[in-house]
């Protein structure tokens, strides 16, 4: 690919280049302009005049030094494999390719684009958008083979931009709606994140369209962007591999990378369960789904919730049981955004299994909870003890109540098993005082079934960790 006819250099070395206010020849789009856009559209082959570059409105050479202009970029592409789903990916490349041009800076995206050209490049002869168009056409064609035909239009005339603006905005909204509807089976790549491995060496977050990272900060789209910029960085692509079980979210690719990154500690992961082969938890999770055995349901508590939850334990105590990159059935770190996902703990029953959460979490996700259940889930304003919780759930006829019958049946079955000596059923209540911790701590087992090969309770040394 040659850029000999372009008066400035073009290359990846210019990517981090910023054009400072002092050095700027013109600014296109940016915070000073109300309307600006960049848009990629998939067209039919016959609709495109290949490699055509059009400028609607004043060109660079018609602009005054130090001036600001509204701006629009329209990239139209066609090809056998081109479809509207690819528009977002193609459009995002504009950012990269404009930044390849020496003396050009491109920030943001969509209706927010902010472009500057510096004085030096203008003086070198980069004085028309034709050059920019040529660069884009060549880079797009050489880097994306699926593009068979491409035409580029630049808008600097504010009226023409206004005409196109609404269309662009609608297109972005449609795309976002599609993105929200994107489901895990639709994609063949997930993203892994090891940013937390210093806290939890065996933990990786598996980020899918329907399962946000535990910290709540990283979406599948963030993963895609980061992995493209720095594929060897802490965010990387995970090839999904074969689907072992779509409902529980078990994939060979995920199992393989988990085994690799955890050095064999975690070999199989079901993405949508808090109990069975659960996804590990780092130290940064936004919230915890914690089992409340008395009602066979899950409570949820988030980091900002101060004080005790319905089981008498605050977030911080349960975080210790949850964190560290282990698979702990019944203590599951997750993000609030995942609670907006239709796959939220679907193996465990999803919201049918959720029996308590802080009011502030409930408010944030209320619209995303199934209508028939959301008012049956209590918050700290409704109940704060297990006894009250039971009564509340029964009164509201929360779906989890149906499970109680099943459990009673299970218990009968287990009681029979216990005759063989594997289980010790402890009827009623058992209180154990643990020595050496300075008192004040009691462990209560209610109707406990405990099986352990060995139980070690020991005094911890000074400065040592409590086991």
């Amino acid at each position: 690919m040659s850029f000999e006819d372009i008066p400035v250099d073009v290359g990846v070395v210019y990517e981090g280049e910023r054009v400072r206010g002092k050095d700027m020849y013109v600014e296109l789009g940016g915070p000073k302009m109300e309307q600006k856009f960049e848009l990629a559209l998939a067209r039919e082959m016959g609709d495109i005049e290949d490699e055509k570059v059009t400028v609607i409105g004043p060109d660079l050479k018609d602009m005054e030094e130090g001036s600001y202009h509204p701006f629009g970029i329209l990239i139209e592409v066609a090809g056998k494999e081109i479809e509207p789903d690819l528009e977002g990916v193609i459009e995002r490349r504009i950012h990269e390719y404009v930044n390849f041009v020496e003396g050009m800076m491109h920030l943001n995206q969509r209706y927010d684009i902010w472009i500057r050209l510096n004085k030096r490049s203008f003086e070198k002869g980069f004085n028309t958008f034709e050059f920019l168009g040529k660069v884009l056409v060549r880079l797009f064609k050489s880097e994306m083979n699926i593009i068979e035909k491409i035409q580029v239009t630049f808008f600097t005339d504010p009226e023409k931009i206004a005409e196109r603006y609404d269309e662009a905005i609608n297109r972005y909204n449609e795309r976002d709606a599609r993105a929200r509807g994107l489901s895990d089976p639709d994609v063949d790549t997930f993203y892994g994140c090891s940013l937390c491995q210093s806290f939890a060496p065996t933990h990786i977050c598996v980020i899918t369209p329907q399962r946000y990272a535990n910290c709540g900060a990283i979406s599948w789209f963030d993963g895609r962007a980061a992995a493209r910029v720095d594929p060897k960085g802490p965010l990387y692509a995970i090839s999904k591999g074969d689907t072992i079980d779509e409902f529980s979210g078990e994939y060979t690719g995920v199992n393989q990378i988990s085994a690799e990154k955890s050095l064999g500690k975690v070999t199989s992961v079901a993405l949508y369960s808090a109990f069975d082969k659960p996804h590990t938890s780092c130290g940064c999770f936004e919230a915890i789904a914690f089992v409340i055995p008395e009602v066979d349901g899950l409570g949820v508590v988030h980091r900002d919730f101060k004080g005790e939850t319905v089981n008498g334990l605050p977030f911080s105590s349960m975080a210790d049981s949850t964190a560290g990159g282990r698979q702990v059935p019944g203590f599951h770190g997750l993000s609030i955004e995942y609670m907006r996902s239709p796959r939220f703990l679907q193996v465990d029953g999803g919201y049918d299994r959720v029996v308590w959460m802080p009011d502030s979490v409930k408010q944030r996700i209320y619209e995303f909870m199934p209508e028939d259940i959301r008012d049956k889930i209590p918050t700290e304003n409704d109940v704060m003890t297990i006894g009250d919780l039971k009564t509340f759930l029964k009164e509201k006829n929360h779906p989890v109540v149906e499970r109680w019958v099943e459990i009673e049946e299970d218990e009968t079955a287990l009681a029979e098993v216990s005759d063989t000596g594997d289980y010790v059923s402890v009827p009623g209540e058992m209180t154990a005082m643990v020595g050496g911790i300075g008192g004040g701590l009691e462990i209560i087992f209610k109707n406990a079934k405990i099986y352990a090969e060995k139980v070690i309770i020991r005094k911890t040394g000074k400065g040592g960790k409590k086991k």
Binding site: K22, P31, R92, R110, D176, R178
Partner: protein, 267 residues
């Protein structure tokens, strides 16, 4: 991209870091024709007033807003956060004739900032690479710095006054810098408002601890007056004792001679 020079000014709270940074920036801006970025990395944010700039948004505020948008689920579904933050940080940059300015501020609220901080580090590293000289006004602790940028500091300046606490802070900063592997080419101390009868003792104390004294800034009533009135250091007359002293220090650090500056810039 070309080699860049990063200067960091650190020290115990209240010793005069901001005045020192402000005067040093003014001298660099006025006497070298180099592009200069000033970063106020102290969450208290005193530097903007010392330089007479208004800060529309700090990096910390932007990060907090981003965190809030994440929590509320109000970000565009398919836009990547690094792309959004990159533009927002550039918008927070104050572009001036003499220098550009960025205030770090602080993040508010809880929640995990691992990811947001990582993106910020990348964005700030990219940004600072665009300036020949970057001057950072730091807090006493260095963890702030090590978290925010992977780049090395070329000249680490520690400001002290005559208090024991400031002296001990200087030693701690030096050790901390080594611990977090900030690999500086030069580490110097500037003494600020040190009474005449203590100058010898302070100099000797520094020498005993292998700390190089780049100079002393005398007590200056003009500086006190500007501080009181909230006026920028650019209003300080060229012949005032504090200005003269900082000019001497800049010279000693090699910032004012083209030959030594090129060497510092690694060319």
């Amino acid at each position: 991209m070309k080699e860049r020079l990063v200067i960091s000014v650190s020290g115990k709270g209240g010793v005069g870091k901001t005045t020192t940074s402000g005067l040093l920036s003014r001298i660099i801006a006025e006497q070298t024709q180099r592009s200069l970025l000033l970063v106020d990395a102290d969450p208290v944010m005193n530097l903007p007033r010392a330089l007479g700039v208004d800060v529309p948004a700090s990096v910390g505020e932007i990060a907090s807003q981003m965190r809030k948008k994440i929590d509320d689920g109000t970000l565009p579904a398919s836009a990547a956060k690094q792309d959004i933050l990159e533009g927002e940080i550039f918008e927070a940059l104050i572009e001036g004739d003499r220098f550009d300015f960025l205030a770090m501020g602080r993040t508010e609220g809880e929640g995990c900032y691992c990811y947001v901080n990582r993106i910020l580090t990348q964005i700030l590293d990219t940004l600072t690479m665009n300036y020949e000289i970057t001057l950072l006004d730091m807090t006493a602790g260095l963890e702030h710095f090590s978290r925010r940028t992977d780049r090395n500091v070329d000249i680490l300046i520690i400001v002290i006054d005559s208090s024991r606490a400031a002296f001990e802070a200087a030693l701690r900063i030096r050790d901390l810098a080594k611990e977090v592997h900030i690999d500086f080419k030069k580490l110097v101390v500037i003494g600020n408002r040190i009474p005449a009868n203590l100058v010898d003792a302070v100099s000797q104390g520094l020498e005993e601890n292998d700390l190089f004294l780049a100079g002393m800034i005398p007590n200056d009533d003009e500086v006190a007056k500007l501080n009181y009135m909230g006026k920028p250091v650019f209003d300080l007359p060229d012949d005032s004792p504090a200005f003269q002293a900082v000019e001497g220090i800049a010279e000693k650090l090699g910032l004012l001679s083209e030959v030594t500056l090129l060497k510092l810039l690694g060319q």
